[in-house]
């Protein structure tokens, strides 16, 4: 190949066009998100006033799947029981834990066997026993054979008494008014079938009594990068799609669903890795195919905080798992793409996810590789290579900066000037290595998905430093 070779020129232009299209798409989502946040800011006066319950809010079942969570489960359940909402129940599903999860729950909440006429709407691994707390009448624990997170959620749905259910990760730290915020889309729209809230990084924050009391910054650079990543992913990634009813994912860490609809589409797919996204994509596909009007909305309020991996190995495993989950969710719902009644979800969101989220890692890595090799071999001028890096990094920084701007417009949780400066530094630094590393991990995830293999619970060593503060 020579510098003037048409093939080199075509590939160079394609790589550049891909990066510009990818970031341009995200920029558009940014503007949509800004519109939504502006509207939300106009209603801030209502949020600031004390909230009054009428007892007419739809009751909610909180489902907490737990697998080997002995370190954090008691504190998590205690904080969930303290959520401020008019009527709710908490159902913990012990998915055949091999540690003391069930024993901890029994001791902490005085569990006794409960003779439940268990209703099987969704098939699951066998349920061994159901317990109820003698101290908290609205707490039940399902003890079942191991079947995975999706299977546990299905068991929780079977036992849920209320029309809405909220799937929560056992290690999530919720805002006290999180249910109240997440349920809002359901209150005024009978077609609402699911709502998801913003998840933020809890590392470095202060937690007391199971609730977040002070927002701080993590010390680990890995966790720090994720703070900016989460801002980007939630504040415009999801909010932007939500504005046009094209949101394809609701985080498993905290999402609210209409039970009847979830059961009608078959519940969570057992053995699935990305069960949260797969369910949402399937809901889009099936509800659209059946011509049922529906809405899926994103609530930008920071309602849930989660512990992020603080070392490279765990982060890598998490990203590989996420990419496999994404691959599963998209590949098992091909029918949505360009389907007759696909709407925004089928004609815009699904192809966007295929092109930029699913295959993005492959194209990005090949792009970087090609440009580097082409420059090294003298196929392209160093100016062309420099322009490529300048555009890729420049647009990356711009997107993250927009994420920071949206945070500043809406919630400005990171109030100290030092925190803002640190985030600004991360916005720039993450483009020099971290994002490329992420693309590489996603590529590995894609490869592992293509190779096949059984899904397992995502194992992460919880540091749960916030637990020490529980009073």
């Amino acid at each position: 190949m020579t510098p003037d070779s048409p093939l080199v020129q075509v590939i160079t232009v394609c790589v550049l066009a891909y990066f510009i299209l990818l970031n341009g798409g995200y920029l558009l989502l940014n503007f949509l998100a800004m519109f939504a946040l502006r509207r939300r800011a106009q209603e801030a006066v209502l949020d600031e006033l004390p909230q009054v319950y009428s007892a007419l809010e739809p009751p909610i079942s909180i489902l907490v799947p737990a697998y080997n969570e002995e370190a954090t489960i008691a504190a998590s359940v205690r904080s969930m029981l303290q959520l401020s909402y008019s009527e709710m129940e908490v159902i913990v599903i012990n998915d055949g834990s091999s540690d003391r999860t069930l024993q901890v729950l029994t001791d902490e909440f005085s569990l006794v066997p409960f003779p439940e006429a268990y209703r099987i709407q969704l098939e699951t691994s066998p349920v061994r026993a159901i317990y109820r707390s003698t101290r908290f009448p609205n707490l039940r624990v399902i003890d079942k054979a191991n079947g995975g997170k999706a299977d546990s959620l299905n068991a929780g749905i079977n036992a849920a008494r209320y029309p809405l259910f909220c799937g929560v990760d056992a290690d999530s730290i919720l805002q006290r008014d999180s249910l109240q915020r997440l349920v809002r889309p359901f209150l005024g729209d009978p077609h609402m079938v699911a709502s998801g809230g913003t998840v933020r990084i809890a590392n470095g924050c202060e937690v007391r009594g199971g609730f977040l009391t002070r927002v701080g910054m993590p010390r680990s650079p890995w966790a720090l990068f994720q703070v900016v990543e989460y801002l980007r992913a939630f504040l415009f990634g999801r909010l932007g799609w939500s504005v046009i009813n094209g949101m394809l994912i609701i985080s498993g860490a905290f999402g609210l669903f209409r039970k009847e609809t979830v059961v009608a589409v078959g519940g969570y797919t057992p053995k699935s890795i990305g069960e949260d996204m797969e369910l949402v994509v399937r809901m889009h596909r099936k509800l659209r195919a059946r011509g049922i009007p529906y809405k899926i909305e994103f609530v930008p309020d920071p309602v849930c905080w989660t512990e992020a991996p603080e070392d490279r190995k765990q982060l890598r495993n998490q990203r590989i798992r996420w990419q496999r989950g994404l691959s599963e969710s998209l590949s098992s719902n091909w029918g949505l793409m360009f389907s007759r009644h696909g709407g925004v979800a089928g004609w815009l969101a699904f192809p966007f996810f295929i092109l930029f989220e699913w295959l993005g890692a492959l194209v990005e890595m090949l792009g970087y590789l090609f440009m580097a090799v082409a420059w090294w071999q003298g196929w392209i001028s160093w100016e062309s290579f420099a322009i490529f890096l300048f555009v890729a990094v420049g647009l990356g920084i711009l997107l993250s900066a927009f994420g920071l701007l949206l945070e500043e417009i809406s919630f400005h949780l990171y109030q100290r000037p030092g925190q803002l400066l640190l985030l600004a530094a991360v916005v720039i630094a993450e483009n020099f290595g971290y994002r490329q590393l992420n693309s590489w991990w996603r590529l590995v995830g894609l490869y592992r998905w293509a190779r096949g293999g059984e899904a397992k619970w995502g194992v992460m060593t919880r540091k749960a430093s916030w637990q020490r503060d529980i009073t």
Partner: protein, 353 residues
């Protein structure tokens, strides 16, 4: 290796476009950065103003709540009015009766009523919402036409709060003018309507019943569900007509309103419906209305194919005040497995509660 100083823009037009895309991204990033700094500075300024305002006005507002006579009031600069009203609203939400009147008096003395009326008409959306809340607390009759227009707006948050303000100002007039609209708006959160009409049921009950009678069959089910959720009773003849309706959704909604012994015959008939949702609602109603003769009916439904019907039948049996625990235990022991399991569960739930 070439030096950075040797950089020359390539002749290729696509590469040139990419270069300028990068330059634009850089420029936009700088703008975003400046915007963040400006927002942060503006937020700090507002916070400082808020603190100063609270320090100055909180004691005076507290005195107004306590019913103390206030002499000359300090001047309230124009730019602080919105901040003042926010503070004032916070306090209004927590007080009732004379204390609320005390706050209204101070707001009127400061000319806030006039300012809020202006904002209601010509403010931006956030200001209109603020003005709606403030004028509702002030029960400002002068704002009635503007608020009545706002109730018809498509914007759910603005319109439902305008309805609240009207109900606060004159519940009877609001009922008369807004009842048909209330039955049609399915975007108004039920929980919020519950709060709004909490203290105005007597004014709304007859008007809503009358408005229901003029509602089309398509709009009737959600309207009836709303009336049921608000626990508003309908005249007996009207309810009986709905219970006899050929439309499943109307019967379902009407069964939620069946709280009078006069409709027990119709409720019992619906226990035999082929639609499990109707059986479910009928069972639930029978839990409130049933007598001894209904025990056998409910016992049959303990073996219903639908889990929820069995569950509600067990709950209904437990709710009957004349059934003793011994009778319930006997019922459980003499029933089939489905019924026995369900009764066992519901008895355990009752024990746990």
């Amino acid at each position: 290796m070439e030096s950075i100083l040797d950089f020359r823009l390539p002749a290729n037009i696509y590469l040139q476009a990419a270069f300028w895309a990068g330059i634009s991204a850089l420029g936009l990033t700088l703008l975003v950065g400046l915007q963040i700094i400006a927002l942060r500075m503006s937020m700090r300024r507002t916070q400082r103003r808020e603190q100063a305002l609270t320090l100055k006005w909180r004691p005076l507002l507290n005195a107004a709540i306590a019913g103390e006579e206030l002499g000359n009031l300090p001047e309230l600069p124009w730019r602080d009015r919105v901040l003042f009203i926010k503070l004032w609203l916070h306090l209004q939400q927590a007080v009732r009766g004379e204390a609320s009147e005390g706050l209204n008096a101070i707001a009127r003395r400061l000319g806030c009523d006039e300012h809020m009326r202006k904002l209601l008409v010509s403010g931006n959306r956030a200001e209109r919402l603020l003005a709606t809340l403030a004028l509702g607390h002030m029960r400002d009759r002068e704002s009635w036409p503007a608020l009545a227009r706002a109730v018809h707006a498509a914007d759910s948050a603005s319109s439902v709060h305008a309805l609240w303000a009207l109900v606060q100002t004159d519940a009877a007039r609001a009922a008369y003018e807004m009842a048909p609209l209330l039955l049609r708006r399915d975007d108004w959160p039920l929980s919020q309507l519950g709060n709004i009409l909490q203290n105005a049921r007597s004014e709304w009950q007859p008007v809503l019943a009358e408005a229901l009678s003029r509602t089309s069959p398509e709009e009737l089910p959600p309207a009836l569900r709303l009336v049921a959720a608000l626990r508003i009773d309908l005249p007996q003849a009207q309810l009986q007509a709905y219970l006899d309706s050929p439309h499943v959704d109307v019967v379902l909604a009407a069964l939620r309103l069946a709280r009078s012994p006069h409709v027990i015959g119709q409720v019992r008939r619906h226990l035999e419906s082929t639609d499990w949702r109707i059986r479910l609602q009928a069972v639930r109603a029978l839990g409130e209305l049933g007598d001894r003769s209904d025990v056998a009916r409910l016992r049959t439904l303990l073996s219903d194919p639908e889990w929820w019907v069995r569950y509600r039948a067990a709950q209904a049996l437990l709710a009957l005040p004349f059934l003793t625990e011994a009778e319930l235990a006997q019922l459980r022991d003499s029933s089939d497995r489905y019924a026995a399991d369900m009764l066992t569960q519901v008895l355990a739930e009752k024990e746990a509660a």
